[in-house]
Symmetry: C3
Subunit: 129 residues, 3 copies
Amino acid sequence: MAYVDIVTALALLQFVVFGIKVAKARGKYGVKAPAVTGNEVFERHFRVQQNTLELLIVFVPGLFLFSRHFNPLWAAVLGVVYLIGRGIYAASYVKNPAARGAGYGISALPTVVLVIGGLVGAILLPLGR
Amino acid sequence: MAYVDIVTALALLQFVVFGIKVAKARGKYGVKAPAVTGNEVFERHFRVQQNTLELLIVFVPGLFLFSRHFNPLWAAVLGVVYLIGRGIYAASYVKNPAARGAGYGISALPTVVLVIGGLVGAILLPLGR
Amino acid sequence: MAYVDIVTALALLQFVVFGIKVAKARGKYGVKAPAVTGNEVFERHFRVQQNTLELLIVFVPGLFLFSRHFNPLWAAVLGVVYLIGRGIYAASYVKNPAARGAGYGISALPTVVLVIGGLVGAILLPLGR
């Protein structure tokens, strides 16, 4: 189970790093709070963080469910794929938003697999035990 | 406990579907990333997703806490009410944002009940056991 | 473990209160859905809620991980610091966004400590047991 918790913590810290980049971009490009628009590069960093938030709310419980009803090691492997995909997503989005597709897919696909796997496992569990 | 996990997974997948609708609306109405404004229908889909995110962060741990400190079956029942409410919310918001109240209430109310129930259960637990 | 669950529930309810304030500000300042801009005071309430969402997605699993791999009581203490910090953050942001730094730090710091503590604990756990 510890592998899953390590991957969870790393995904949370990756998201914290994205948040720090938003805060830095806010200062660098002079986007004063509460505004979240006004500079294209700031908006890219902000959208990376927001999109990761949208995925993280699915990823963290998905990791837990897949680990519980299937297999913790496979959950952790899918989690590492997510981490790599999000890294690619963030780097490519900031350079060129139109190129964000690959990184998005590499992080969104394992997230959906975790949830669907967790769902199937949870449904079959009463039969299997 | 499996009922609660099934409802959790379904709520996550419902949110993923809302996200897919945002991505489709982005393409259909030509809202280029990183922008999240510029077309009213896109903005409705986007707000459905964002508002669901705001509720999901409360719903998922709330379901867990209520299940742990009260009753897993009742947690799952409240979770199904949430799922139905969110479906109504999404459908009505996209048609007419002013009509979003009913679906909002049907999904927000069970969410708050889950958290308050979980809190009361957690406080009474050391006395009760 | 109940202390951690009580703090979790309180953090969720605090976030619900921030959401209610956004809804009230929406009505008071006439910001019609799906818009989330157009009035400075509304935007401050909205950013308090959104920023808390960004922190909550890290805080809730972080609390769980720290509690599991270190110590539930210390997790709860750090959680109470977070709750106080968020209260200060919300109050100061609405008055003056430029003054949000202190409350932000008092809530973000324990959150990061929870995650890093949980990570270190999860890594050392297989050795320690």
